[in-house]
Every structure is written in structure tokens, then in C-alpha cells.
Amino acid sequence: MPQNEYIERFQKQHGRRLDYEERTRKRTARESHRVSKDSQHLTGLRAKLYQKKRHHEKIQMKKQIRQKEESNVKSSGPAEPSSTPLPQYLLDRSQPTNAKALSSAIKNKRNEKAAKFSVPLPKVKGISEEEMFKVVKTGKKTAKKGWKRMITKPTFVGPDFTRRPVKYERFIRPMGLRYKKAHVTHPQLKVTVQLPIISVKKNPQNPMYTQLGVLTKGTIIEVNVSELGMVTAGGKVVWGRWAQVTNNPEMDGCLNAVLLV
């Protein structure tokens, strides 16, 4: 461990070696030779580390070159007011950042087959049945059998749901943990809107949770996007669109989701 900045101090007092500039010039001139020799002769772990470092360097280099090239091109004509071409009657209007970009993005994405099943949150942490359900032991008969469960997670319950008679009700979904709306973020436009939930499409934990409408992190829900004014190719208003829950609603007390694109 060096004590204090003694090298800098020495240089300030006595200056550098007389041939310092010459030596550095020569070293940088030979640098490419050294790099070439290293890349050919290094073996083992060192080679791996070296290749990785070199790879990153090359990426940076390419980026810089590209930037340089772009700045060199002389731009003729005035800059366009927007990146996408617009007819003259829309030019001076501030384009509302609407959900239009979304629908075209979706179309482009669909063309890529691999992207068809990709979602923003591909993996979720498993939730055990013990955590999900609480055994209800109140009441005479129930206590004896112990088959009644209360769901401890937030749920979505459809508007037409009526409870079954208490005798037959196996799952209780508490009123306090029911959600009707979600804060849905549009990934490209970075806009968040509160939209009504239509249904729960898929709970990754368990198909039964899908049926029960349990909302956990990673759940795919269908939301009502009619307010956004998106249209299909046939000229009809898009009504439902899928979104994935991105937070733990039972911890946050609200439901955040991201629209699937």
C-alpha cells in the first residue's frame, strides 16, 4: 500500500524523466502489437478474461464509429417535426400520445413468432397452498371437517358473482381483498392509466388460482382498454387487452400491471 501521493509529489518537485514523452509515444505505438500478441498467445483463464474485455472494447469502438459517421452526414432541409411522416393537415397539431403506437407495436411484434409467448415477467416465485389458503375453523360443522378455505391473497371477482350457500361454499374471497381496477402502464408510451379488469386469464401458480381469480405477481389479466381508442384492422374499437401484474398487490394495496405488447 503506497503511503500518500509520493509519485505525484516527486513529479511536482523534480519533473518527469527527460525521455518520458518519447517513451509513452513508443508504447502507444506498439500497443496494437502487444494486443495482437496477447490475443494470440494467452491461454486459460487469462485468455477468457482478455477476450471478454476485448469484446466490450470493440462494442464501444463500433458505437463511437457509428456516432461519428452520423454526425458527419450533412443534413439537408429542415428537421422534421416528428419522426414519423405525417400528412400536412396533421403537421401543426400536437399529436396526443395515444395508444396507437401500441397497436402497431403489437402488430410488428406478432410477426416475430418467438415473441408470441414472451411476457415481461417470465418467472415468478412459487406460493405454497399453506400461504395462499387459511383453513376456516369457525362454526360447528366446519370445525369438525376443516374443508373451508379463505383466500389470503387479493382476488378479482366478476360483477355477476353471487356467493353460494354457506354450507357449500368451499372458498371465501374476502371483500376487503377484492380488486376491480388496475393501474396499467403502457410500456412504449410510459403512460399509466387506471382501467377496469375484465377477467383473470392465467395465474402462473396454479390453474385453480386462475379459476378463483387470484391476483399475484405475474398474473395475466384482461383489462378494458376501450377508453384508449385503439382500433383493429377491421375498424372496430379494441375492447379487451391483456396485461401482466407487476407488483405484489397484497403488499402494496394496489394493482399495477403492464400491457402486453
Binding site: 432541409g77 429542415p78 422534421e80 414519423t84 400536412q88 396533421l90 401543426d92 396507437k100 375498424g235
Partner: protein
Amino acid sequence: MATFIPPPSKRQRIAVADKAREQQDIESIPDHLGSIRVQFYDQATGKSSGAPVSIPVADATVKNLELLLNTLQRNDTSERIPYRFSYRSETSGSNLNNTLDISHDLYHSLLKSGLKTTEDSISLQYTPQAVFRVRAVSRCASSIPGHGEAILATSFSPSSSSRLVTGSGDNTARVFDCDTGTPMHTLKDHTSWVLVVSWSPDDSTIATGSMDNTIRLWDPETGKTLGTALKGHTKWVNGLAWEPYHLQTQGRARLASSSKDATVRIWDVVSKRIESVLSGHKGSVSCVRWGGTGRIYTSSQDKTVKVWDASKGTLIHTLSSHAHWVNHLALSTDFVLRTAYHDHTADIPPTEEGKIAKAKERFEKAATIDNQVVERLVTASDDFTIYLWDPSTSTKPLARLMGHQKQVNHVTFSPDGLYIASAGFDNHVKLWNARDGKFITTLRGHVGAVYMTCFSPDSRLLVSGSKDCTLKVWDVRTGKLKEDLPGHKDEVYAVDWSPDGGKVASGGKDKAVRIWRH
């Protein structure tokens, strides 16, 4: 065991009910009303067709009136002209009030409502309608890729429906052969988006205006550029208007261009020079039209519409009634000015004088109302209203057309000058009577902003292009949806109906030009 016939399906029941209703309507003229005296007047000249005629009320349908009038006019049976009849009450002196269309028969339009009795003599105005009938486009004949960016403007050649030019965001314009659905020429010299395209009325030149502040001229046959760019504007070009053919000095066509830089420039197309600069607007000039009486009409974002003298380059009137940007303007003679001497008969006069005479005759026929050449003007604005003007008589508007609930983007006159169609950002197209600006009907069906509308050349159909990716064809007389044309994958920015009625072209954000036909 008796066999029961199953009850009729819902479809059958609806069909039967519809038929019954129709028959009810036809039969419901009472036959005890005797006859009524009718006098016919030509709407354009105001002349009567002869002495009043006594017609039995029971037979006074539009069909029969047409037949009668054709006989009175001594038209040959082989070339019967369809007529449109309207009733104008004589009590009010002004010719703007109380014009009523006879939709089916005299009884339902006039007598039933108590407007007239069989004791009175009725004066009916007649207007000849197009002798040809355009069939509604119903299918996509071809979808032509090629443009690398959104299509911003499209226009058919005035002479035929087989040539089309489109301007695009990829800095090119393309000429298409619509019969085969193939691109013919790519016009690439612009350095930015091509915002407007326009064919000269004699079909010899294409003018394109661009975001790079220039206008270029092209030969549609070879696809070669004609000389250098017309430079002068300091901002992009919003609109182009050719000098009407019958006003052109031979071989020296002129072109007016409006720009974002608040000026309008008149160019000599041959020498590529600026003939005059019309400056006076304080905001972007959104639209320019060159009228057949030698006047230039411009609309601007400074809320005014200005009328200029094209020969002297001076301001004649400033029409200021709008409260916000004026987006678009249309002339009642737009169609004949665009097509000049090309009409549905497709016979082009061999000589230059003949062409000019024919163009002049067509213009005067379209513009004559009550024996005067009147060029009506309609302007659409961001203040949700439309104004109808008659700039030759007054600087006050004839009518204020209210009803749109959002900005009005586009207005057009029908080729016969009887209807106005307006398209707005409130998803509706509205139809208005062009004589007095009375509201006729709203065409509902689009679920996105309607960007553009275009009438068929016989004025019986209207096509509208919208943000909701569809085109819709409407029947003007009934106000019903005739055809829904989905197919575009994104917003439709530009639509045009060919002057001979055969095809409709549309282009938009999905980069493909689509050609629609029957």
C-alpha cells in the same frame, strides 16, 4: 301425424317486414286527391320549362316527374336525363330559404305536411343529375407495396383512372399503373417527405410539394423531373393549385403553392420562376385554390380566408369570420377545374382551342346558378364550424354550418355542386346542402377521426378515410353506409376517387397503396 313447417327464421322475418314496409310506403298515396298543377324551373338558369302541367297526385312520383320533364324538354328517349327536384317557396324573397328536396313523391314531401294543397300551383326546380352512374367500390383490387414510409397524399390523373400518383414520407413520389396494379415510376429528388401531389388539368405534368421547401415538376409518362426544383419557400409546402385550363395562356401554365411560411407563391411552370408572391397572411397557409374566374382563394391558420386577384397578384377580400385556424377550403367548381376538358364521354377535342372551349363550357355549366357564374367557397375550421361563402357578391358568409363536435379537417363539394361533405375529428362525416348550407344528415360509422372524404364523380356516393384503418362508402341520397372497406393495417391518410369513377385509391400509415374497385 301432421308435418309442421318450422317457424320462419329471424332473417326471413326481417326480410318480410322490410318488404311490407316498403310496399306500405309506395301504396300509401291516397288516390282521391285529384291532380295538382306543377311548373318546372331550371335551377341553373331560372327559366321555366313551359306552361304549368296538371299531374294526378297519385302518380306524382319522382320517376314520373322525370319522365314528364324529359318529354317536355323533348329529350330523345335514348338519352333520358335523371333529374333532381326541389321545391322553393315563393313567399320568401331570398333564394336561400326553404328549399326542399322531393325525395320520393310530391304527396309525402309537400302535401302531407301541409306545405301546399292541391289547390295551389307548385313550382319545382329541377337539376339534371349525372347521366352516368358510378358503382360503389366494394373490393380491394390491389395492394401495392413499395413506399418505405407512410403515404401522405394521393391523386388520380384527371384523364383516366389508370394513372395514380402518391407522395410519401420516404421522400419519393410514385406513379402507379392502376390497371395492372404495378408501380411505373419512382420520382425521387426530394430530400424530405412529399406532402402534396397534384396533376395539372391537362394531364401533362405532376407537381409535388415537399417538406424540404421545394416544389418539383415531373413528366408522368417518363417519370423524369422537368427542370430543377422550384425554390423560394422558406418552410414546407402545404398546398398546390394549378391555374384552371381555360384561363391558361397557351403553353404557359401557372401553379400556386401555399406554405407554412405564410406566403403563397405563383410560379411560371415553364420558366420555373416566381411570378408573384402573395404575402399578407400571418400564419401558415393551409390550403390554396385557384378559381375559374381568375381568383385565388387561400385559407390560413391566422383565422382568415383571403381572396386574391391572380393576374395582378393583389388582395381582393379578406374573409374573417372564423374563430380559429382555417384548415381546408373547397370550391363548388373543384371537380371541373381539376378535370378541365376530360369528361365521362372520354372524347378529347383535337385542337387546343377546342380543349379550352370545352373546359370553359364545363366550368360555366358547373358554376351557373340562376344565370350567373357563381363560385361558392366553403371553409372548415378548428372552431368546429364551417362557413359557406359567395366571395363574388359579399364578404359576409352565406351560412354558418354548425354541428361538428370537434375540429373540422376536410370539406368537399360534390361534383354537381349540390352537397357539401365535411369530415371532422369527432368521427363523423356530415352532409350539408350546398345551396343554403342546411344540414342534411350525419354519416356515423367511423370509430376514429375522419381525415378525408371524396365524392364519386356522379355525386351519388361518398368515400371517407379514417384513422380507424377503414374506408367507408356512403350513399349520399339516403345517408346510409353502402360499403365498409377494411384492409388497411393502420391510419388512412389520403383517399381519392378517380375522375371517371372506376377506382378509389387510398394510402396511409401502413405504407401500402390500395386500389379499390367494384
